[in-house]
Amino acid sequence: MSEELVACHDCDLIHRIGGHAEGTSGRCSRCGALLFHAKRNSIERTLALTIAGVVLYLVANSLPFLSFDIQGRVTETTLVSGIRELWGENMFSLSGLVFLTAVLAPGAQLALLAYVLVPLYFGRMPWNLHLALRLLGWLQPWSMMEVFLIGILVALVKLGDMAEIVPGLAIWSLAVLIVVLAWATVSLDNRALWRRVPVAST
């Protein structure tokens, strides 16, 4: 197997790593950062999770996740309606932040994963793979659905005394989606994908 040089992204120490056998991983000998982790069946597994994620995402975004019943009057809320309310109260920056972190970033992550993995599964190269991978890397820290779920829990408790709260179907798909998306992120083998991108000779 060919050897490769990799610099640790946390301390810059160069390592010579050999072999890309699935299931192997290596850490920096100086600072302990993960240098690489070759995943098993990365493309198939991540694609399956992405497809499940897309379905869950559509459900989570189109159905109400909470309904609020106070003396017989019921209001329902979807992911997007809170963002719209904030916008309506002239809190544009905040509304944009919630939209980015709870709706746009996870959705774009799923779309990009599908864009990258579907062609690769059928043995083709996705167009501009390097841009898709860079965008995925950029989006990841801004995708915060798991934090959103904790926010729902806190909101439920706060309203407990005031009214009857009925969790909707979207809350369950959101909970499963968080697990599926986290799992997809873990099963994605970034290094193996990057190896498919040709290196321009200078």
Binding site: A7, C11, I14, G82, L94, R134, G151, V157, V197, S201
Partner: protein
């Protein structure tokens, strides 16, 4: 697997986006791009220390109005009650203390911890410290990982505003404090991203000769 010195000492740069190790011919460093992913190549993050300090100062200043000003107002049966971040925690403490602890840590402890930890790391790098580099690197990883959890309170306000909107009977409105708080969260996340942990190790190599 064997280690052979830092990339910088070998005249190479690890691409921050795709992690390809690129050899730089001398003088080519300015404006060079990665031959694989075409991201700009930088041996270290650009202006890491100054940018991180600036973002930290901004966050520290905004941390005050974020905690003093109300983040939302609850109108219920004719009563109007403003809520700050701390009063929200105290409210939860009454019947759900584990959740109160989560919100307290996420909204008050995490931003403060990030300010202190990043400030300390910047100071230690600037003063050329070579003390416990491994632990300082771990400290950085923690500071970078926990920032997202501060978003909890912002989501709570968003959900309450969307859910409770029955004009006279009950309604929740977002207040300006939550905007300051959102800015604190974003600035501390950007500050953590702009700090370069490799600076911690550069001093080590210089002092080892």
């Amino acid at each position: 697997m064997s280690a052979v010195g830092s990339a910088r000492s070998q005249g190479m740069v690890g691409c921050h986006a795709c992690r390809l190790l690129v050899g730089l011919s001398s003088g080519a460093s300015a404006g060079a791009v990665c031959p694989r992913c075409r991201a700009p190549l930088h041996s270290r993050k650009v202006n890491s220390i100054r940018r991180c300090w600036a973002l930290l100062f901004g966050a520290a200043i905004l941390y005050i109005p974020a905690n003093v000003l109300p983040i939302m107002t609850t109108k219920y049966l004719g009563n109007s009650e403003p809520d700050t971040i701390m009063s929200g925690v105290l409210f939860l403490l009454e019947d759900e203390w584990p959740l109160a602890l989560v919100v307290f840590v996420a909204s008050i402890v995490v931003p403060l911890l990030k300010l202190v930890v990043l400030g300390y790391l910047l100071y230690s790098v600037q003063s050329g410290s070579s003390w416990r580099a491994l632990d300082r690197t771990r400290l950085y990883r923690i500071a970078e990982a926990i920032g997202r959890w501060s978003m909890v309170d912002i989501y709570v306000v968003t959900i309450l505003v969307a859910l409770v909107r029955l004009d006279q009977l009950a309604s929740v409105d977002a207040e300006i404090g939550v905007v300051f708080f959102g800015a604190v969260v974003v600035l501390t996340i950007l500050a953590a991203q702009s700090f370069d942990p490799r600076l911690i190790w550069d001093r080590m190599e210089e002092s080892n000769g």
